[in-house]
Symmetry: C2
Subunit: 87 residues, 2 copies
């Protein structure tokens, strides 16, 4: 399946959340990630984020698409280069 994940973490935890998400997905904007993922990996990703988060301060939203064809995207402004070497 193809997912778009957005998060809003307190700055104390945001670097850890970023690191977790980048193991599974492509980083496309400050707090937005996307990519193909298996059901098993998505469960693992959710578990990792839930273990990190403070449920009264942080939030995660996952958009699950049947497939990438359901979606078209438009971007304007700065494009994030997720080179994986930066952080």
């Amino acid at each position: 399946m193809y997912i778009v994940l957005t998060y809003d973490f307190n700055e104390k935890r945001v670097q850890k959340a970023l690191k977790i998400c980048r193991k599974y997905l492509k980083w496309v904007q400050n707090s937005v990630f996307e990519g193909e993922i298996t059901f098993a990996k998505l469960e693992k990703l959710k578990w990792e984020l839930q273990s990190l988060m403070n449920e009264s301060e942080d939030s995660v939203k996952i958009y699950i698409l049947k497939n990438e064809k359901c979606l078209s995207t438009e971007t304007f402004g700065v494009e994030k280069e997720d080179d994986y070497g930066f952080i």
Copy 2:
């Protein structure tokens, strides 16, 4: 059509960007909005954001879905209450 819009604006412009997006969409997370929108209104929204943004600092990403049925969502943590009276 149904869209999910995410942005990353410099803090000097982020309040204005928020105000623009809330005219057209539901605010669901710090920098994430979603909702049904017509083609004409989407063009207007894009024009307003492009007029505001600094293209070397800010970014906007729009996910356009054929329809809401293409999508399932999961949220955990804090849910944003977009009561329109707060800002």
